[in-house]
Symmetry: C2
Subunit: 363 residues, 2 copies
Amino acid sequence: MTKAGRRKRGAKTIEDVAHAAGVSAMTVSRVVNQVKNVRESTRAAVLEAIELLNYQPNTAARSLAAGQATHIGLLYANPSASYLAQFLIGALHAARSAGVHLVIESCESEDADEQAEVTRRFATSDVEGVILPPPLSESQPIMAELDAMGIPIVTVAMGAPRDNSLNVRIDDRAAAYEMTRYLLDLGHRDIGFIKGHPNHVASTDRYAGFCDALTESGLDCDSAPAEQGYFSYRSGLTAGERLLARARRPTAIFASNDDMAAATVSVAHRLGLIVPDDLSIVGFDDTALATSVWPELTTVKQPIAAMAEAALELLIADLRGNRGGAGRTFTERVLSHAMIIRESAARPPGSRKLAAKNQARSS
Amino acid sequence: MTKAGRRKRGAKTIEDVAHAAGVSAMTVSRVVNQVKNVRESTRAAVLEAIELLNYQPNTAARSLAAGQATHIGLLYANPSASYLAQFLIGALHAARSAGVHLVIESCESEDADEQAEVTRRFATSDVEGVILPPPLSESQPIMAELDAMGIPIVTVAMGAPRDNSLNVRIDDRAAAYEMTRYLLDLGHRDIGFIKGHPNHVASTDRYAGFCDALTESGLDCDSAPAEQGYFSYRSGLTAGERLLARARRPTAIFASNDDMAAATVSVAHRLGLIVPDDLSIVGFDDTALATSVWPELTTVKQPIAAMAEAALELLIADLRGNRGGAGRTFTERVLSHAMIIRESAARPPGSRKLAAKNQARSS
DNA sequence: ATTTTGCGTGTTACCGCTAACAATGCTGGG
DNA sequence: CCCAGCATTGTTAGCGGTAACACGCAAAAT
């Protein structure tokens, strides 16, 4: 009677599985944790029992017994809301399968001292590793503080890898190259560019990719119209206005993220330009904003949730592996991006017939 | 030596605290869990020891021992990204203090059968309660499925409370009333309204609040220009266009959420109208979009994160309390909203002098 | 005065799982 | 044939808490 005393309704335990498979609990544990030294036939029997009973290990018991990491920190600072939402979803998903709690905290300040302060308070609680999504993945003060406390870090979308650290990113340069290539193939020759925040390495990479494509097509990148932006909608407004006020107006604009692309769409409309007939506009990130404006934005999709998952996996692997004491080494994971073609880009004005012809060809 | 064998670096245990306070571990547990029957002096001693050692209970051990809920489900369907981000942050925060894991899943389908299907799969995993933020908080199929499986639900921002359920919301009607009152006080008499999704009770409430204020000022609500929207940016575009195409153009527009307000701003700009000089536009929710458009939106702030926290707390309290077996009863929590005055609303055109005078008065 | 309450606290026995070690069985070398 | 050496599996002892119960003692009841 004590046996079922405090147990929850119907939850299967490792003991149930062990009994069903005719082995000991320890063996089941070994199978579940992919430890070697289990005979193939035994493993199969256990797996079958697990399947049969629909056994799901109790994460609380697991981390208690193993003394494993249980709290992973996530420090963020106002990226676009949709970026954050997707990132959180991915992180949460990974956290769940790893049986780990996510402790999230915001750090909005730009001031180095204050960032360090927030970080210290944060790290003093009980996080055993920290995930740093952009833009914090570029913050020196935060990383220095964490390093000093000996807390492992995994950065996301950081361009300048540090020694002895983990990083997850996409190939921004290649992605920007592809997008530019796409515009060039469409027939555009006057392509304007809105740069991202100068502190982000991703900004530089995207611009580099843009130039790669231009150069490849025999165009001079330095003479291509480019304006500085800061990844915000507001900055996109200004940059867009400048670009469209130029004597020789570009027929296409490539903004370094969707927020700035959306702002440019708004500017174009105010000027009475039809997108994409008079002007093509493309973005980067494929955040929710890309599909909420009209026309919907052609953009590059970053696998944000997947990146968050990868980051957490990397960190946990490091944490677990590191308990042995061996120093960890630099690890990076590059996930793949994807071009998302929607309605905001088309052939440049004056090439309609060509457009129609090609449309027919491609269908 | 076995004593410190598997223990993690420096983590304080309940035993440490007990020793420091000169009591047993059980007593510390009682203090931590706010159980009664602890003498005041003992409690103080324990609290002091906790403070001193900076003790933080191990959530894994706690939920293992108590057999408490460990996984709370969160089913969502594309609300605006910034709403979701904020909601997740709040939920995560509360989940952490409760030592509970959040299991989140999306359910985008509008189809009843499919919703039921997703819900069933979701609930079959091991969630012990489910949080339903809008718009899912209005979904009958999902709630019916969950009810059938005996899984407690807490809805957020649902207008039509069910028997035997938990709900968290703000007073949409009062908030909309206040906002309309604000526009009226500014001098507006022709105020257009963009309604929210007809399936949401919040939409009805907001419109009711709008009417309350109008009626109070002796205006007829039925003759006030109102267009149907669906909470999306796109629907705001259409509604905004219709409203501004009217023969008698409103001097102010109250959109039922920020997305639609932002869309209306965009339409106004396209028509060459200056906001707020020619036209005042206000929104609802205070999502990130409100501050990313220009001019920044005057809006109503929903305490989204706090609502998520409240929802989780309510659910957990129910879960814990319910283990006794007593049927749970209807509980609702209404959080307070706030008016956020920014730059998108001003006095109607033609009342500049009055505006200046009042400005002076109010400062 | 003795029993009854019941409050405040300690003891014991787990929760479900895994580290460390022990035991078992098998292979092959001396 | 015995035993080292290895692969495989079982046993024991917790991880850090909490439920349930036992216990001591003062105030209230008989």
